[in-house]
Symmetry: C4
Subunit: 176 residues, 4 copies
């Protein structure tokens, strides 16, 4: 399948990718123990994707509504900055763009639930994981083929990496 | 798909939704560690559904046969009341209706296993998760499309919310 | 689907059901933490099946090759006896029959891997979970429809219960 | 299905099987707790496969990029040697061959992600799990039918065992 020219253009222009956490880095489930410990399920291969983005100078950031130590733990492991306990994600997204000196048009946001919609409308490249809530899908330019927590983050990193590196053959693998 | 008029009527009338825990809030599995700690798997997006129900004044309650600290942990996180170690769920359901001043006809019960059948027969809107035991399905007016622990609770919350808010277009998304 | 007469006969005759643990009570995966703690995934609704068997006087037993505290934890919760660190399962099965005064012909064994084959050959009703290793399936009279850790144990309990209680209509649900 | 003669030849010649860890012994997810503990999901039946290989004198080894106590925990349980914090897997593979006195042509490597490609190119029998990244599949002589963490390691052990034992009928079961 050929990549849509508008999507390729948007991917090439990106300087910042902002991710929601639950349902994007995770499969949207949470393990709850009888001792009250929460645990989430992430995708090992996301790390390689994130570090390739870093190697070509694309910034990444996690923005999450919850204030949960899990997000810090995972963000530290992946060496991504994160903002937590965010009530208004669209505001936080625009704030992050300003702080990093990146235009919202050069920014992607990746979400899965209805509280991500304002943030998706505030930037240049709105993306949803394939298992996002259906209301969300109406607001995005790209749906991943992989599910949240099962490679969606890596897929997005690979798309951006190969678009910016002009390796269109590799892009074809992901968009097939 | 159009919503069945009787189901729409029942959803609009609801003032209380009572949930079984295992198999409804969870995928009905339990992780058992060698140290004897139990852990269950829940759905992150259930919280948003529950809080929307609360915002329009619909009460929620968890009733569980087990006496397990996990139920308390999860109920506290979602800010739902819970009754545990319940031997007779139908009795507990009717008791809860009385305490809250809600008629059983304005109440839904959501279950998955055969010990939920008496409770399902005692209220106005009996609901089962799609992966409920087959004996249970004969006793319900609605089966969710999502599985327990994978969005079933959120689906029910969304159905009730949109029915009561008269947002029938949104309802269509869930019933398609 | 009608139940095979020979299977119905064997189910009715049962006085003892012996289960392997991993892959039967669990989905055959094991969670391994960086602290060396092992955790397995079980099916909440197995408990109701086991207690119904107990209520009609059918004995149950777990036999496992591993010596693992997880088996004890789960067996205690379900109130089943268990024998661990068993090298020769066929020998342990026959020993258990003798101890309980039950003929091997009135006994079922449920397994999933090739080291269960001798035990399956030693008793009257050999059963495998549907996701057992293919070599095992050649040696059984019944394959469950549910997977290990996802209802296989409950399914077997329900089959035995309804066969012995002559509730053939209910049996039909499981064998459909 | 008949086994490809070249694959059978390679399997028969093997004296050493080297495995990547994440995505091969595991399903490539990682559970992250709010306390920062990582946990992975492995396949119980891999142990029986590994011990059968050992019984016929085939060496096994785990090579992993991460320095993670989980790998040590699992390797110790399975009684396999492991090398961690390996930056250059191809170099580590050739080093291991030298240490064990095995020719690279008598060696298999099993991987799932793009950083495994150089190692796959350095030995006689390159293998990928069926859910490997698509770039990897171009470099292997065999793809497993089972997924990583769901029997892929056991499948490879069984293939090698039955090839070396000339039990071609059993091989057919796996290659069907």
């Amino acid at each position: 399948m050929d990549i849509r020219p508008d999507l390729l253009q948007s991917l090439k222009a990106l300087r910042l990718v902002i991710f929601d956490f639950d349902g994007v880095f995770t499969d949207n489930t949470v393990l709850v123990s009888q001792e009250g410990i929460e645990t989430v399920r992430c995708w090992r291969s996301d790390g390689l994707g994130i570090s390739r983005l870093r190697s070509i100078g694309v910034e990444t950031l996690i923005i999450s509504t919850e204030a949960n130590p899990i997000v810090t733990v995972r963000a530290n492991k992946l060496k991504i900055a994160c903002k937590q306990a965010v009530e208004d994600k669209a505001h936080a997204v625009l704030q992050a763009c300003k702080e990093l000196g990146v235009s919202p048009t050069e920014t992607a946001f990746v979400g899965n639930d209805i509280n991500d919609i304002p943030a998706l409308k505030s930037i240049g490249l709105p993306i949803a994981v394939v298992d996002a809530y259906p209301e969300v899908l109406a607001h995005v330019a790209y749906q991943t083929t992989k599910q949240g927590g099962y490679g969606a983050v890596r897929e997005i990193c690979d798309l951006v990496f190969h678009a910016k590196e002009d390796s269109l053959e590799m892009l074809g693998i992901y968009l097939a």
